[in-house]
């Protein structure tokens, strides 16, 4: 698929949804909002500012995670209300089922009670999922979850390594997402997924290289469905970092990867690389402005909101730990700051 060419279908069922999303987009945080948040003297003041900016901060809340989760939940409920395609709701809420599945599988194999790590934003209740993981009533589970579970169990039985559980479930998740988007014939979202998978794979590859882990296991950690196949990564896996920056010039991510690698070498941290990848995705999502009808703006809003929530988390964690504001600013997507 050509990554530069996206056709928007005039799906007029979404006329109301797009109108509403456009109004909501005006409330997404701007540069100025983030600057104000960064200027907050301490954590409680940052929380107060957040309440002013419309986040559900109540008086007694002293933690940030419940606030962010409530905001995330609101965005998902909005998607539920506005989406005319069940598939879209499914892929974005199913993510939490996969997450819970991973948690429960790890809990089962390490004999821990891990309810605190589950998120009840998915489509299957955590209790039902737990029953299925423990070997009861697997039949009730949606096919993709059952498949993910079986794959994860098989991979884990072979190697006994917990990351195998994650890898198997993640692969199934991305497989499922691309299937649904193909079925919906939505070229914008299909392209978005390809970008997301490619960037994720690039990050995975660089992390493997940085950790000097066995790059031969590349195939295991790469997600399916991107435009850069495992063959591409296998070819460049032995190249030194400086050469790597060049090899991506033919892809849409060339500039970002080069910049990310130089930052990685300078700062010994992945923060900049991850921020640069986020910037690319945000830029991409902003192209949904071209569409007046269709699911694209609705999904783009959800994803932009998620980026915003992540940026807010970075600010709040920074404030909580008294990091200097330049240090926090580095981590915010430059699309905002």
């Amino acid at each position: 698929m050509d990554l530069s060419e996206i056709t928007f279908k005039d799906d007029t069922r979404y006329a109301y949804a797009v109108g509403r999303v456009r109004a909501l987009e005006t409330k997404l945080f701007t540069r100025a909002d983030f600057s104000r948040l960064l200027e907050a003297a301490d954590f409680p003041q940052a929380l107060r500012l957040l309440a002013e900016l419309g986040y559900p901060v109540s008086e007694e809340i002293r933690e940030y995670e419940p606030v962010l989760e409530a905001e995330q939940r609101a965005a998902l409920i909005l998607l539920d209300n506005l989406s005319e395609d069940d598939g879209l709701v499914e892929i974005f809420r199913r993510r939490y089922d996969y997450h819970n599945l991973k948690v429960l599988l790890k809990g089962k194999h390490s004999g821990q009670e891990l309810k605190r790590a589950t998120m009840d934003l998915g489509l299957v209740s955590v209790d039902d999922l737990a029953e299925a993981v423990m070997g009861e009533e697997v039949g009730e589970l949606p096919e993709t979850l059952a498949r993910a579970m079986a794959g994860a169990e098989a991979a884990f039985a072979e190697s006994n390594a917990p990351q195998e559980l994650d890898v198997a479930v993640d692969k199934e998740q991305y497989d499922f997402m691309s299937q649904v988007l193909r079925r919906l014939e939505n070229s914008f979202l299909q392209t978005w997924l390809i970008w997301e998978v490619d960037l994720q794979n690039i990050k995975t590859f660089l992390r493997l290289r940085w950790l000097d882990e066995n790059v031969k296991l590349l195939e295991r950690d790469m997600l399916p469905g991107g435009s850069l196949g495992t063959g591409f990564f296998r070819e460049i896996r032995e190249e030194p970092l400086d050469v790597l920056a060049q090899t991506f010039t033919m892809t849409p991510y060339g500039k970002a990867v080069a910049e990310g690698i130089s930052q990685l070498k300078a700062k010994k941290s992945f923060a900049s690389l991850e921020r640069i990848c986020d910037d690319l995705l945000i830029q991409f999502l902003k192209r949904s402005r071209e569409a007046s009808f269709g699911a694209e703006p609705v999904i783009a809003y959800l994803l932009l909101k998620e980026f915003e929530i992540r940026a807010v988390r970075a600010v709040l964690v920074g404030k909580l730990n008294d990091l200097p504001k330049e240090k926090i600013r580095e981590r915010l997507p430059s699309e905002y700051v």
Binding site: Q112, A161, Y174, L211, S269, F270
Partner: protein, 207 residues
């Protein structure tokens, strides 16, 4: 303080022999103490460096972890690290420094410290865990060195107490006692002599 012994020639001989042994023992102990001190100082120096390194690494690990946490929801962090992939077992051995038995720790590591998939996790979590993995081995070495230091210090203390006891109590006591016995003996000899001379005079006068 004078020892409570009979002031006999027999005792004097015994005490003299004992003094010689004690002096030799004192010298040996003193040498041992010096050698231990030297080892101890070396250990202190290296432990200081090790501790600084471990603390630096730990700080780096926590900083990376903080960075990672600031980009991931708590539940995701929890999910990523809730089930460790690395198994660590510890083999404890022994070795002797100057007759002091100190422990030798040998970690046996199985599996990789990264125990999560790459999707949804931050690269800084990898870095944090790598620091922690490196710190683990070093902190075990540090623990070993610090325990050795502690045991050595105990032993130095004990040795020093012995040396001091010998130097400031036993040896002076022995010397004092010997001198006392010597004096007592010569006193007795002198009194014997004068008694003999007196008797001789009396006898001579009667003749």
């Amino acid at each position: 303080m004078r020892l409570a012994v009979n002031a006999t020639r027999m005792q004097l001989l015994r005490l003299r022999k004992r003094l010689a042994i004690v002096r030799r023992g004192h010298k040996l102990l003193k040498d041992k103490q010096d050698a231990m001190m030297r080892q101890f100082m070396e250990l202190v120096k290296s432990v200081k460096g090790m501790r600084a390194r471990v603390e630096d690494q730990l700080q780096a690990a926590f900083q990376s972890f903080l960075l990672a946490r600031s980009t991931m929801p708590d539940q995701l962090v929890e999910e990523a690290i809730c089930m460790p992939g690395m198994r660590l077992s510890l083999k404890v051995g022994q070795r002797q420094i100057m007759n002091v038995r100190v422990p030798v720790l040998k970690p046996i590591v199985e599996g990789s410290i990264r125990c999560y998939g790459f999707v949804g996790t931050s690269g800084d979590l990898d870095i944090s865990l790598r620091f922690l993995g490196g710190v683990l081995e070093q902190s075990l070495k540090l623990a070993e060195a610090e325990k050795t230091m502690q045991l050595l210090a105990d032993d130095i203390e004990k040795t020093r107490r012995r040396v001091n006891a010998l130097e400031y109590t036993l040896i002076p006591d022995l010397i004092e006692t010997i001198r006392y016995i010597t004096m007592k003996l010569s006193e007795m000899e002198r009194s014997n002599l004068s008694r003999l001379m007196r008797i001789k005079n009396i006898i001579r006068a009667e003749e």
